[in-house]
Each structure stands twice: as C-alpha cells, then as structure tokens.
Symmetry: C2
Subunit: 121 residues, 2 copies
C-alpha cells in the first residue's frame, strides 16, 4: 500500500485566509487542524473541551481574563475547557489546533469570525 506523510508546510500553502482552521488529520474523534492567524480574534470559550495550540511558525499570544501566554515555534499550550481566551498574532502566525471533532472556532460566541467546521485541506 502507498502510505503518504501529512506534510504541514505543503498543507499551509493550500490556503491563505486567516482564522479559518483546516483539518489535516483525525485520531479517533480528535481532529488536527492548521490555521493561519493574524490580528486579534474574539473572546470565547469552549465549554465542553480543552483546546491545544501548537505554534508551527511565527508568534502568538493567548490572552486570558487574568493573564496571557506568548508562544513561539515549537511551543504549545492547553487552554482548559470553559476558560475564556482570545488569540492574537501581530503578524502571520501558523498554528496547529488539536481538539475533538465538531469544535467551532468561536465557541458559543458566534459572530463574523465563525469559520465553517470540519473543512479538510
């Protein structure tokens, strides 16, 4: 059989919109998504799940109501379920998100930044 690696750099080249996660892999019911982010996202939370951010390239900040964490390449952070957060990137940042299938990027907050769910690249 012909097994193929999932190459993240190649996947990132296939889209350019910001704040619109694309699924690249699934493990059981967990999805691995990549996204290009730039600017300030909205405050939101995911009531039913933790959410993992892994920075592939660039830098980002995740703001919380009581602090923040800055992430660079090769750094990750787990936002606990139910915790309000707001991702920010001064310039283009490439990230991988890991979370269960079905998680919407804006949580229950909705609004213009809400991206279509379960879009593969």
């Amino acid at each position: 059989m012909d097994y193929r690696p999932i190459n993240l750099s190649q996947k990132f080249e296939r889209f350019d919109d910001r704040w619109s996660p694309r699924v690249v892999a699934e493990m059981n019911d967990v999805q691995f998504k990549i996204a290009k982010i730039e600017g300030e996202f909205i405050w939101h939370a995911h009531e039913d799940t933790d959410e993992v951010f892994i920075v592939v390239a660039g830098r980002m900040v995740i703001e919380f109501r009581d602090g923040c964490v800055e992430l660079g390449p090769g750094e990750m952070f787990v936002v606990p379920r139910g915790v309000e957060h707001r991702p920010i990137a001064e310039s283009e940042c490439r990230i991988m998100l890991v979370e269960p299938r079905g998680v919407v990027n804006t949580g229950a907050a909705g609004g213009d930044y809400t991206a279509p769910n379960d879009v593969w690249v």
Copy 2:
C-alpha cells in the same frame, strides 16, 4: 495568573533515553508525549486506538506489513487502530506522539522495549 508555554526543545533536553515517551501535555483524555527514537523498534499494534506520529527533528520510517511511510520534520502520520507497525530511525529522531492516556508503547506485544506509562517531563 502566570501562564507558561510548553517548550518542546526544552523538554527534549531533559532526557536522553530512546523509546521511552514522556508526557508533556493532556487535552481531555488525550496525551501529548515526546520521545527520542533510534534504531529499530518492535512490531506491535494498538487494538483500541489510532496513534499519531509527528516528527519534530530528524527522520523516521514507520513500517507496515504492506508498505511504509518516511517522515521528516513537520510531517505527521496517523497509524489506524489495530494496524501492525514498526517505527525505525537510522539516527536520533525526535517525535511527538498523540494518543489517549494509558496507551503502552509496545501495545500488546510487550518485551524489553515496553516503557513505563504516564511519565511526565
């Protein structure tokens, strides 16, 4: 509050044994583990779960009974549940594994390569 990034390079510096995954993060019941691998592992399968390999540095091959996949930095692969596989790295390779809490590195195969489970770094 003081939020800290999980820095993979720093975590990798804290151990040097091969084939002995260390947990760096948890999302719900899913663990993110890092490992240094070198040489040939044993054939094994995980009957109850898919298993994700992400290469951070170096190169590795995952052999299957009917083929293989070679992975370099920034590449990943999902080994489906129940599928026999054997990881190989000619020289030191640094990987991240993503799988549910409780998965043993040798599956049901056992043997000398079986590492302690749920060891954090």
